[in-house]
């Protein structure tokens, strides 16, 4: 007896950006298309040093499944990735390494600080711990929690997707952005 075939009909597609549609074509602005493509194909680079990394693994796993949001493929080389996820305590001795990983990523690149330690140093108010990774690299989204639930990490990634989608194509060449990079001593 053949098995009944089930088709998944509840597929949710990305909305078409606003524009002018006709038969066989859709005209819209370039940055909307680029934003759409970037938003839904973020390549995560996990930089997990402690317990937030465990929560991040749950986020990537089948229960929470970051793949639903187009960020399926982890790249374990910074050169392929555009979303750096720093999950965990960063010691001061680790700071230059984190900075080097960030520098090796190609533009455009975004950073999420997952958890209290990556955001502020957390409970480790100590001589050996970096008091927030924004002391060495610019951060786009901070996820609070100690450690944050996978839902929290997903929420942070959705927030980053909004940032990515609405980012102007000229932002990375702007004087404001150059000033931000210079304030971190990059370039």
């Amino acid at each position: 007896m053949p098995r009944p075939v089930q088709y998944n009909t509840k597929i949710k597609m990305v909305e078409l950006p606003e524009g002018y549609s006709g038969e066989g074509f859709h005209a819209t602005s370039f940055d909307k298309v680029v934003g759409l493509a970037r938003k839904n194909s973020l390549w995560p680079l996990p930089f997990a040093t402690s317990c937030c990394g465990i929560e991040f693994m749950a986020t990537m796993g089948s229960n929470y499944d970051l793949g639903r949001f187009g960020a399926e493929r982890m790249g374990f080389t910074p050169r392929q990735c555009d979303m750096l996820l720093v999950a965990g305590t960063i010691a001061k001795k680790m700071a230059p390494i984190l900075r080097q990983v960030y520098l090796q990523m190609a533009e455009p690149r975004w950073v999420i600080a997952i958890g209290a330690c990556a955001s502020t140093g957390g409970i480790f108010d100590s001589y050996s711990v970096l008091q927030g990774i924004d002391q060495v690299i610019p951060v786009d989204v901070y996820v609070p929690g100690c450690p944050p639930r996978p839902e929290g990490i997903l929420d942070g990634i959705l927030k980053l997707q909004d940032i990515v989608q609405n980012e102007s194509l000229r932002r990375r060449g702007s004087d404001v952005y150059k000033g931000l990079m210079e304030s971190y001593g990059i370039q």
Partner: protein
């Protein structure tokens, strides 16, 4: 006959006499104090003596006593006789202005990294150490963090003020 604390103490007193002081036995572990310049002589005797045979260094660390004048830094050696399973704690005191101690790394190879760690955190200057550089902290750190000279919280943090912790 098993090696007891009394025998160890008797052997050491026979050899060094009144120079060893502050004999204690907290939790059954024999503890004594030696003059700072005699640390190697005492350890060499404990190492070589056929009866004592303390040939393993379990631990080496330091303690900072800010209130003790001219003997602020205490270097603590934990030695063990692995045949009889007897442990011993040897303490020496040095002033924090001139924390010079002879290295034990020639006698116990394991002391090499432990002395580097003690230097890293307390700034004890181990004379004769082959490579006395920082081992755990960042190389450009310009202070010794475990000395009791510093405030508890990182002074580089601007987001924490006393009012937030109810002690303003």
């Amino acid at each position: 006959m098993s090696l007891t604390n009394e025998i160890v103490k008797q052997r050491l007193t026979d050899k060094f006499g009144e120079q060893l002081t502050e004999w204690e036995e907290p939790y059954g572990m024999l503890t004594l104090r030696a003059p700072a310049e005699m640390n190697l002589k005492v350890m060499q005797f404990l190492f070589d003596d056929e009866q004592l045979h303390f040939r393993f260094m379990t631990d080496l660390t330091a303690v900072h006593y800010p209130e003790r004048k001219d003997e602020e830094l205490c270097v603590v050696y934990h030695l063990q006789n692995m045949i009889e399973n007897v442990r011993l704690r040897l303490k020496i005191y040095v002033p924090v202005e001139k924390p010079d101690v002879y290295t034990a790394s020639k006698l116990f190879s394991g002391a090499n990294w432990m002395e580097r760690e003690t230097y890293d955190f307390f700034g004890v200057n181990f004379i004769g150490h082959p490579n006395l550089i920082r081992i755990l902290n960042v190389d450009d750190m310009d202070y010794f963090p475990m000395r009791k000279e510093y405030e508890m919280e990182d002074p580089t943090r601007r987001d924490k003020d006393d009012q937030m912790f109810g002690r303003g």
